[in-house]
Symmetry: C2
Subunit: 356 residues, 2 copies
């Protein structure tokens, strides 16, 4: 089953509107950087790698219409557009990483004039998209080796086809492990319910056995001996391995440690932010209270009540068994091991034992 959350054709970025899944398969067409920024902010598209890809195409849309300008002013226009896109969501580093790649592509071709620059920017966006697809494949192959036959796995949020340009990070691993996976417990992932609406939907469509649970049931799954491992994606990983991911990831990591279960993070190299020493430096997005107080217009809390709604939390590296990247598996992640693995060339994950 193929799900195409991001498509670029005929000067349009077509995004599967993930807010309406699984009830409806609706698409949003973005024709400008503004459209794209709005789509990212409102969660039409979400998942760190997917946000990066969408932003790259959005940057292209932002300069594609700019006529009769010099090479230098394409760069200036791109900076304006990228500032807009950067402001859409603060935590996923892939967004900033992708926009940096786009800016470089424009700068390198400035001498050739606006037409060539635009071509180069679109090419770079397509390359970011294709690179992410390849990264998913590599992550999936490296990760699949970590799961023995009969594995029962808990996952949180959605780090699958809907969150990336490929088969996913955490879910990519599960797809690649295939028949070795006996059961995936999908946390519903409040407040936006990416687990029930997206992960359960995506896994079921791909015939992976899945059981939907509320976030607060993961402890009971573990204490009853129903789970063998936890695997999640990531939105930003500091140079020491501290990982920002969907709110609730940290609690899951503490539970996994308490039960002696391995806790895996799966993410491409683009999710690492080596400029940050520790997780505390990662900016955590706080989202509107309505996400918690309403579900599709239905009020589920007293109207005036105060709400705290952080979209992410930080899992310290010491709670992470391994980070599965497209360059290889970083066991017991720390600054040195991360630097070592990330310095490798991207691979397709076929390189046998070396990558582990």
């Amino acid at each position: 089953m193929k799900i195409v959350p991001i498509r670029f054709a005929n000067s349009e970025l077509v995004l599967l509107d993930q807010r309406f899944l699984p009830a409806r398969e609706r698409y949003v067409r973005c024709r400008s950087a503004e459209d794209t920024a709005r789509a990212i902010k409102s969660l039409v598209v979400r998942g760190a790698p997917a946000i990066g890809i969408a932003a790259a195409y959005g940057a292209y849309l932002g300069i594609a219409g700019a006529e009769r300008v010099s090479g230098a002013s394409v760069c200036a226009e791109l900076r304006r557009v990228n500032a807009l896109l950067s402001a859409a969501r603060p935590t996923a580093v892939n967004l900033f990483w992708a926009l940096e790649r786009i800016e470089k592509a424009a700068a390198y071709t400035a001498i050739k004039g606006p037409a060539e620059q635009k071509k180069a920017v679109l090419l770079e966006a397509r390359k970011i998209h294709a690179d992410d697809k390849r990264a998913c494949s590599a992550i999936s192959r490296y990760g699949a080796r970590l799961f023995p036959k009969g594995s029962r796995v808990i996952t949180h949020c959605n780090a699958g086809m809907l969150a990336t340009g490929g088969t996913g990070t955490a879910l990519g691993v599960i797809y690649a492990a295939g028949k070795k996976i006996e059961m995936v417990y999908a946390d519903e992932t409040r407040p936006v319910l990416q687990g029930s609406r997206l992960t359960a939907w995506e896994l079921a469509r791909n015939r992976i056995p899945v059981t939907l649970i509320c976030d607060n049931m993961a402890g009971a799954v573990m204490s009853r001996g129903k789970a063998d491992a936890v695997i999640v994606g990531a939105d930003r990983i500091a140079s020491n391995g501290d990982t920002a991911n969907k709110i609730g990831t940290y609690g899951l990591a503490v539970l996994a440690r308490h039960h002696g279960l391995p806790f895996y993070v799966a993410a491409p190299a683009s999710t690492f932010d080596l400029s940050l020493k520790r997780g505390e430096q990662i900016i955590i997005e706080e989202r509107p209270s309505d996400e918690i107080k309403n579900i599709s217009g239905k009020i589920i809390a007293p109207p005036g009540v105060h709400v705290w709604n952080p979209a992410f939390d930080i899992t310290p590296a010491k709670l992470i068994t391994a980070i599965i990247t497209d360059r290889g598996v970083i066991k017991a992640p720390d600054r040195d091991r991360i630097a070592e693995i990330l310095s490798r060339k991207p691979s397709c994950g076929k390189s046998g034992k070396k990558g582990e």
Copy 2:
């Protein structure tokens, strides 16, 4: 602010329908044991102590109409009625405890004839109600001493006025601690959202500062140093202190331990089941999948997806700092300390240091 979730007058049991809170204040009138069993099963009334009280009145309604019967047949009729009420929900032991008291009251008065028996049964139901109110007061006073000025507390589900015949167990403690409480973080408590719909509502109406969070945010609250303690109610406590409470309680206890925070359980003596050696022996109710897949008719998950929906989990005694009862505080609960405190006479919690 007074909330009256259970009222018995004019041969009617009037229950505040907690399924519609906070949007609507609607009442359900029960005129038979069948009505009452249905109300308990469908969560019109919930919370272990409240279930016990409602069941006691329900048992009375079941025999009140029985005419021209002997004392022995009132007892027989009561057994039939109680079997019906017992089947409504399996985990909260207060239900069985209350029905046992009712049966004894009928048996002791069998010799006096049906009319006297019915009177005795109603009297016993009213006594169960009044006893629970007193138990809440005692728990509240004992518990309040454990919270220093400026306390920031996480709670789960609803163990307040809506769950008991008094001011509550966990929330009773918070009300009694009053101005010493700087903030209560209320877990929304999926899937039935007792935290957002009931606890946040109840606390706000009583002017206690409250912040609503999703269940998966409690870890982030703790890791950011925003909480000093956790307090919850209980549905059944085994003789060794293992505690069944709303699903998610266990995960919260693991998190509290990881962060070195005290984890308190507040419950009346009627919540202890001394016939059970360990928590594993407690029957855990599994509820319909629709509770997770729909929110008020709105589909939030793929229709065919498999769901696991246990209503409770077991927190082992070793993760519990203290159980706050109406007989005193049981620190580091174990079989001996529990037996010792429960052997005390019920008190109003005014007895100073003795109760601790």
